[in-house]
């Protein structure tokens, strides 16, 4: 199970819980339209699979996103966490990881191997989605700014400022998080070392026991 990291997004997500999904939906619609217009290859690569529904559980936000793909078209529906929607596959990851997967700056396999993201359901559909997104050269900020028409320049500058501020905030959160969990981490590391020692000892004893059993009497 993917747990949300201690980050400004988690805190922001808690504060945004009261925002109704109807207010977020237009943003999701706009993004889906931009992706379809600028990156039709995504849906073309997914089309051999037929219609598919992906539930994207952004673990540090109060909403899920249901991506439906059919006949080279896609739409995104914003859902409350407790909404019960059937999907072919569910993908769980923090927002930062999902953004990294969208723009190809993060390796999806590495994220999965290290358990920073998880999924369940139709593996073939998830693999195809990952490959299609990775092959698309998506630049989310440019895509969103582009949709704002004449406000594009201002939106780009604003997003750069916000990203810089977010990076600073994230670093502060990491420092606070470290100071809070360090004592527990040290205890866990000591216990892990002890367990390793005991496992080694156990293995030695098992080996000795097997030898003793197979020795001719």
């Amino acid at each position: 199970m993917t747990t949300p990291p201690f980050s400004p997004i988690l805190l922001g997500g808690l504060l945004m819980r009261a925002i109704p999904t109807e207010l977020i939906q237009p943003v999701a619609d706009g993004l889906a339209r931009r992706l379809q217009d600028r990156h039709p290859g995504i849906f073309e690569r997914l089309s051999p699979l037929g219609p598919r529904r992906f539930l994207v559980d952004v673990v540090d936000l109060p909403w899920n996103f249901l991506l439906s793909v059919a006949e080279s078209e896609g739409r995104v529906e914003v859902l409350r966490k407790d909404a019960d929607e059937a999907a072919d596959a569910t993908i769980r990851a923090p927002l930062k990881v999902l953004f990294g997967l969208l723009d190809g700056s993060i390796d999806g396999d590495a994220m999965f191997f290290t358990r920073d993201m998880s999924f369940e359901g139709d593996t073939e559909a998830v693999v195809a989605l990952r490959n299609a997104l990775d092959g698309a050269d998506i630049d989310l900020i440019a895509d969103l700014a582009e949709s704002l028409g004449p406000l594009k320049g201002g939106a780009t500058r604003l997003s750069e400022c916000l990203l810089a501020a977010f990076t600073r905030l994230e670093s502060d959160f990491a420092a606070v998080g470290d100071s809070l969990v360090q004592p527990a981490v040290r205890r866990a590391e000591a216990q892990a070392r002890r367990i390793d020692e005991l496992e080694t000892r156990c293995a030695q004893l098992e080996k000795a026991l097997r030898r003793a059993r197979t020795m001719p009497t």
Binding site: L49, D109, F112, F113, T123, L129, R130, N131
Partner: protein, 339 residues
């Protein structure tokens, strides 16, 4: 057989870095990151990485080749599965199209297809895929003599001394895997995945197809399954892996362990001087199924290492551990310690 795009400024002694591309975006990433050569395949059964959403249409390959050639990089097209009798057309078309689109070489495994390429496209450079499992000078020289093979991709089961010895007895260029997933079976002949899924990696181009893979979360961790069989069980927090049968954890003799191979990745970054000394021509990075972030990071690290080697400098291990399967790496059979 001439190489169209090879960068004339590249020193002859330089090890050629052959990098994976599963999509056009990954091809551009690999070229920008310093790949001398990129290998890729068509979006069908003709190549051994036939994963959903991956690979190239004909148009995409044409654009990719143009991009690579503009940046003095070569493009190799892998047509390295084995056609079934009576259904040769897709494979013949793949070879014809690779030649028509200006690929610098085709990577082939099936002996009939190699003959087809020799007869119909004599000017197209032919590489012998690892799927052909040629591992002796006699085998490699046979392919060179009869089919004009210019390069062989060696199986990942040879030691460096064995590769050096092989190179002493052949004029054929050798290419070895230096990073990525590690196949320890007789490649091109392994039927483990076919046995469990009913789909042959050697004929349809995918080992452990995603359509047969399941990940199931449960209270104490994560199970990975292939064709309905549990292949591995990962505790919470333990690095996970893809469920290929040869890298599963099985119970035997009252013990649960990796019977064939652990889910580790090959990494020869710090062994490149020894690889060069073995007479190898090209270094292959595995991972057409991996994303751009992987391609960029690994290609940059290896290109820096190859350049450092050219300058006679000591190689530093780059931080690419996080891209390895299971978070662990090995020198594999190249530095065999178990015999």
């Amino acid at each position: 057989m001439t190489r169209v795009a090879r960068d004339p400024s590249r020193p002859v002694s330089t090890l050629e870095l052959v990098c994976p591309a599963g999509t056009p975006a990954a091809l551009r990433t690999a070229v920008d990151a310093g790949a001398h050569t990129v290998y890729c395949g068509f979006r069908d059964d003709t190549n051994a990485r036939n994963f959903p959403g991956l690979n190239f249409s004909r148009e995409e390959l044409a654009e990719g080749i143009a991009y690579a050639h503009d940046h003095a990089a070569d493009v190799l097209v892998a047509i390295n599965t084995f056609p079934t009798a009576g259904n040769l057309d897709p494979w013949h078309r793949a070879i014809d199209d690779a030649a028509r689109l200006g690929a610098d070489a085709v990577i082939l495994a099936d002996i009939g297809l190699i003959a087809y390429a020799r007869d119909n496209h004599p000017g197209l450079r032919r590489h012998l895929s690892v799927q052909a499992a040629a591992s002796t000078p006699e085998g490699v020289n046979f392919y060179a003599r009869e089919f004009g093979i210019a390069r062989v991709v060696l199986p990942r089961v040879l030691t460096l001394p064995e590769i050096k010895e092989l190179n002493r007895h052949t004029e054929v260029e050798t290419e070895v895997f230096v990073f990525g997933g590690l196949c320890v079976m007789a490649e091109g002949r392994c039927s483990l995945s076919s046995y469990v899924t009913g789909k042959s990696p050697n004929k349809t181009g995918v080992c452990s197809p995603a359509s047969h893979v399941e990940y199931v979360e449960h209270g104490s961790g994560l199970d990975s399954r292939l064709g309905g069989f549990t292949i591995n069980r990962f505790a919470d927090g333990e690095p996970a892996g893809y469920p290929t049968l040869c890298k599963g954890r099985f119970g035997a003799n009252d013990k649960t362990s990796y019977l064939f191979e652990e889910p580790v990745s090959l990494n020869l970054l710090t062994m490149l001087p020894e690889v060069a000394d073995a007479g190898v021509t090209a270094l292959k990075i595995e991972g057409r199924q991996r994303g751009k972030a992987y391609v960029e990071k690994v290609v940059k690290a290896f290109r820096a290492a190859v350049d450092a080697l050219d300058r006679g400098e000591t190689l530093d291990a780059a931080a690419i551990d996080d891209l390895t399967e299971g978070g662990r790496e090995t020198a594999g059979a190249y530095k065999r310690t178990w015999l």
